[in-house]
C-alpha cells in the first residue's frame, strides 16, 4: 500500500473509533434531516380556503363569486358559501378558512348607480398572505368593473354631452381592456425544504471534520506520533497528502450518507448524480483547505478547536445553512457567495430547481479557488512560523 493510503487509512480508522465523530458525521445529520422532513412534511405549496358571504344576491355579487370559482384559480382558492357574516368571522377566527369575502347588501344596485359599500376581505393576523391574496382578487374584480365607468367619466370630462351617456356606456362596456396578463410556466422545479436543508445540514455537520482533524494533528504532535512518522523515509508532502485524504474521505462519507438517506427516505433531490458528486467533492476539498489553514493558524490543540469552531460557525451563518438564503436580503445573499458552503448551496439549489448539470461549474470553480486560497495562506503562514 502506498504511504499516502496507509496514513489516510490509519487516520480514518482512528476517527471511526471516536464515537463523537460518528455521531456528528453520520447520526446527527440524519436525525436532523428527519426532523426537518417531518416538520415541513405538510408540503411547501400555498392554498387559500376562502368563504364568501353574499348579502347582495344581485348580478354583480354572482359575477364576483364566479370569479372566485374560476378554473384558473382552482389551485389557489377553494370557495365555500356561508350564510352570514357572523359565520364567516367565526370560521376565519378558528382558522377553518384563511380569508372571507363579504359582499354588502345593495352592492349591485349601488355599483350601477353610484358608490357601493366596500367589499370586505376578512383575515387573521397570522395569515397576512391569505388576506393579501384575497384583496388582490377582489381588487382585480373592482378594476374590471371600474374600467367602463372610467372611460365614460373621461369622455364626459373631455366634453361629451350627458345626453349621450347611455350610448357611451354601452359602447365602453363592449370594449375589452387592452392589456392582459398571461401566466407562463417558467419550467422550473419547486425548491423543496428538504432539498435545501438536506445539503445545508449535511455540510454543517461535515464541517466539524475540520476541528477533529486539526485537533488530531496537535495531539499527534504532542504524543510524538508525528515525529516518528517524520523519522520514516517519507517526504512531508506524502504525510500531508495522507492526512488530507483522510479528511476528504471522512467529509465525503458524511456528506454522501446524508445525500443517500435524504434521497431514499425523504425524497430530497440533490441533482443528477455526477453534478451532485462534483459539488460534494469540491466542498470536501474546501474542508481540507480549511483544515490546513486552521492548523497553520494555531499553536495548541485548544486553539485549533477554538479557531475551527469559529470558522465553522462563521461560514455556516454567512453561507445560509441555517436560513433560506433566497429569502434573505440581497446583501446577505451576496455575502453568502464569499463562503464555499454558500457556493455549494447555490449549486444544490440550482440542481434541485431544474437547472442543467452545467450549473455546478461556477460553484465548483469558486470552491476550488477557496481551497487554493486557504492552502496558499496555510503554506505562507507555516513558512513564516518555521523561520
Amino acid at each position: 500500500m502506498s504511504p499516502v493510503l496507509a496514513i489516510a487509512a490509519k487516520d480514518l480508522r482512528q476517527r471511526l473509533r471516536d464515537r463523537s465523530a460518528i455521531v456528528l458525521g453520520f447520526v446527527a445529520p440524519v436525525v436532523i434531516a428527519t426532523l426537518m422532513s417531518f416538520a415541513f412534511g405538510g408540503g411547501d405549496s400555498y392554498h387559500l380556503d376562502a368563504a364568501v358571504v353574499d348579502n347582495d344576491h344581485g348580478e354583480l355579487a354572482a359575477a364576483f363569486t364566479q370569479v372566485l370559482r374560476d378554473p384558473e384559480l382552482s389551485d389557489l382558492v377553494t370557495v365555500r358559501t356561508v350564510p352570514s357574516e357572523a359565520d364567516a368571522r367565526s370560521q376565519v377566527d378558528s382558522g377553518e378558512v384563511g380569508a372571507a369575502f363579504v359582499i354588502p347588501a345593495g352592492f349591485t344596485a349601488a355599483a350601477r348607480g353610484g358608490t357601493a359599500a366596500p367589499v370586505t376581505v376578512l383575515g387573521r393576523v397570522d395569515e397576512p398572505v391569505a388576506q393579501q391574496v384575497g384583496q388582490a382578487i377582489a381588487d382585480g374584480f373592482a378594476a374590471q368593473l371600474d374600467a367602463v365607468r372610467l372611460s365614460v367619466a373621461t369622455a364626459l370630462s373631455s366634453g361629451a354631452t350627458p345626453d349621450g351617456l347611455p350610448a357611451l356606456a354601452a359602447e365602453a362596456a363592449a370594449r375589452r381592456l387592452p392589456e392582459q396578463v398571461a401566466a407562463v410556466p417558467a419550467g422550473t422545479r419547486q425548491l423543496r425544504s428538504i432539498s435545501y436543508f438536506g445539503p445545508a445540514m449535511g455540510i454543517f455537520f461535515a464541517l466539524f471534520a475540520v476541528s477533529f482533524t486539526a485537533r488530531g494533528y496537535f495531539l499527534e504532535r504532542q504524543t510524538g506520533t508525528l515525529d516518528r512518522i517524520r523519522a520514516a523515509p517519507l517526504r512531508p508532502a506524502v504525510v500531508l497528502a495522507g492526512k488530507s485524504l483522510a479528511t476528504l474521505g471522512y467529509a465525503l462519507a458524511s456528506l454522501t450518507t446524508m445525500a443517500l438517506v435524504t434521497t431514499l427516505a425523504f425524497d430530497a433531490y440533490w441533482g443528477p448524480p455526477l453534478a451532485a458528486a462534483a459539488l460534494l467533492v469540491a466542498m470536501a476539498l474546501a474542508m481540507v483547505g480549511l483544515t490546513a489553514l486552521v492548523i497553520s493558524l494555531s499553536r495548541t490543540e485548544r486553539q485549533a478547536e477554538g479557531i475551527a469552531a469559529m470558522l465553522t460557525f462563521g461560514l455556516v451563518l454567512l453561507g445560509g445553512n441555517f436560513v433560506y438564503v433566497s429569502m434573505a436580503p440581497p446583501l446577505l445573499r451576496t455575502l453568502a457567495l464569499l463562503t464555499p458552503n454558500g457556493w455549494a448551496l447555490r449549486g444544490f439549489t440550482d440542481l434541485a430547481t431544474g437547472a442543467g448539470p452545467s450549473a455546478v461549474l461556477v460553484p465548483v470553480l469558486a470552491m476550488l479557488a477557496f481551497t487554493a486560497a486557504c492552502g496558499g495562506l496555510a503554506v505562507l503562514l507555516s513558512r513564516r512560523a518555521a523561520r
Binding site: 465523530a21 353610484g114 372610467l150 381592456l177 407562463v184 441555517f322 433566497s326 431544474g354
Partner: protein, 386 residues
C-alpha cells in the same frame, strides 16, 4: 462562602476561554442578526420586472406595480438573470414588459404581458391575481384615453392625463380588509422573532456544551484536591450550580440587552420576562451539570452537546414556529422544555401576557428544572465521593 468561591473561579476560568466567549457572546448576536434579517414579513409577493423598453406607458405600468403594497418589485436587466432568480426562489414571478408596448397601446392594439411563474402553481396564481389587478388598473386608464380619443378626438396623452386624474374618484367598488382577531399565535417577525428563540436555543446549547468544564475539572483532579480540604461535596455541587446559573443568566441578560438596544426588541412585561428567563436558566443549569456527569470527555460535550441542542430546538420550535408543523409534531415537540419556553415568549411578546398568562409554562419549566437539578446534583455528588 465555599460555593461563592467556586462560582468566582468558574466564571474567571470562563472569561479566559476565548472560544467559549465566542459561543456565548458573538455567535448568538450574529445569528439573531442573520435570522432576524431573513425572517421578515412575507405578506408581499416578490415580482421581478424585465422591461424591454423604457417608454412612458411601460414606465407608468412598472410604477403602478411599485406603488402597490401587495407586491415588492425588483428590476432586472435581462430575462435570463430574472429567470435564475425565479428558479432560486428569490422571486415569486417575473413580469416581462414586452417591446413595443407603448406603440401598440397608442395605436389601438392589444398587448399580452407574460408573467413567468415558478413551479409552485399556487404561488404563481397568487402572483397572477395581484399583478392582473394592478395591470387592469393601468389598462383601464389606457382604454379610457383611447375611448375618448375615438369618440371626441384630441391627443392620446391629453386624454390619458384626464383618465389618470379621474381614476381615483370614479372608483365605485372599493375593497377593504379587516382582521378578525387582534392577537397572534406567532412571535412577531424580524428580530422580535430571532432574539427570544435564539435566547432559548443558545442558553441551552451553551449550558450543555459547558458540561465540558465539569469533565475537565474531574479529569484534572481538581475536585479530588478540593475534597481533600475540609469542604463538603454538597458545597461543591452547590458552587457548580451557582456557576452554571450565573453563566446562563449572564448570557440571557446579554441577549435581552443587545436585542433591546441594537435590534429594538420589546421584551414585554418585565416581571413575566424575568420569571421566564430565570426558570429557563435553571433548566440550562440542570442540563449543563447533568451533561458534565454523563459525557466522558470534554470533546464529547463540545461536539454532541450542540447537536442535541439543535435537535431539541428544532422539535421545540426554536428553529421554526411550531404553528407551521403538523399537529403530531407539535405534540411531540412539547416533550422538550424548549416548546414550553417558546410558548411563554409568544404569550409575553405577541399577546402582552403577564405572569398569570404564562403560569402553566412557568410551572412546567420549573418542574423540568427541579427534576434535572435533582438528578444532576445526585450524580455529581456521587462522582465526587466515589
Amino acid at each position: 462562602m465555599t460555593a461563592l468561591t467556586i462560582m468566582a473561579t468558574g466564571l474567571r476560568r470562563l472569561a479566559r476561554d476565548r472560544t467559549a466567549l465566542f459561543f456565548m457572546v458573538l455567535l448568538p448576536i450574529v445569528i439573531i442578526l442573520v435570522i432576524g434579517a431573513t425572517v421578515r414579513d412575507t405578506g408581499e409577493i416578490r415580482i421581478g420586472v424585465v422591461a424591454a423598453e423604457r417608454t412612458p406607458l411601460a414606465t407608468e405600468l412598472v410604477t403602478d406595480l411599485r406603488q402597490s403594497p401587495a407586491v415588492s418589485v425588483t428590476d432586472y436587466a435581462g430575462e435570463s438573470e430574472a429567470r435564475n432568480a425565479l428558479r432560486r426562489n428569490e422571486l415569486d414571478a417575473v413580469l416581462i414588459v414586452p417591446a413595443g408596448l407603448d406603440g401598440t397601446l397608442r395605436s389601438g392594439g392589444t398587448v399580452t404581458i407574460p408573467l413567468l411563474g415558478s413551479a409552485a402553481q399556487s404561488i404563481q396564481q397568487a402572483a397572477r391575481s395581484a399583478v392582473s389587478g394592478l395591470v387592469a388598473r393601468h389598462a383601464a386608464r389606457v382604454e379610457a384615453a383611447r375611448f375618448t380619443v375615438d369618440n371626441l378626438g384630441g391627443t392620446f396623452d391629453e386624454r390619458l392625463a384626464t383618465a389618470t386624474r379621474l381614476q381615483a374618484s370614479v372608483g365605485t367598488v372599493t375593497v377593504r380588509t379587516e382582521t378578525v382577531d387582534a392577537t397572534s399565535d406567532y412571535l412577531p417577525l424580524g428580530f422580535s422573532y430571532s432574539a427570544p428563540t435564539m435566547l432559548v436555543l443558545f442558553v441551552f446549547i451553551n449550558a450543555l456544551a459547558g458540561g465540558a468544564a465539569i469533565i475537565e475539572s474531574r479529569r484534572l483532579g481538581i475536585y479530588d484536591r478540593v475534597c481533600a480540604a475540609p469542604i463538603r461535596p454538597h458545597d461543591i455541587v452547590f458552587g457548580e450550580t451557582l456557576t452554571y446559573l450565573a453563566v446562563a443568566l449572564l448570557q440571557s441578560l446579554l441577549i435581552v440587552g443587545i436585542g433591546a438596544v441594537l435590534f429594538g426588541v420589546r421584551w414585554g412585561d418585565p416581571l413575566a420576562a424575568a420569571a421566564l428567563i430565570t426558570v429557563w436558566a435553571l433548566v440550562g443549569t440542570g442540563t449543563g451539570i447533568l451533561a458534565g456527569t454523563l459525557f466522558r470527555t470534554p470533546e464529547q460535550a463540545g461536539a454532541i452537546g450542540p447537536a442535541i441542542g439543535i435537535a431539541c430546538g428544532m422539535l421545540g420550535g426554536a428553529m421554526w414556529p411550531l404553528e407551521i408543523v403538523p399537529q403530531t409534531m407539535r405534540t411531540i415537540g412539547h416533550i422538550t422544555p424548549h416548546a414550553w419556553a417558546i410558548d411563554g415568549w409568544i404569550e409575553i411578546l405577541s399577546r402582552g401576557g403577564g405572569i398569570p398568562q404564562i403560569a402553566t409554562q412557568l410551572t412546567v419549566l420549573a418542574a423540568v428544572a427541579l427534576t434535572l437539578l435533582t438528578i444532576a446534583s445526585i450524580r455529581l455528588g456521587r462522582r465526587l465521593t466515589a
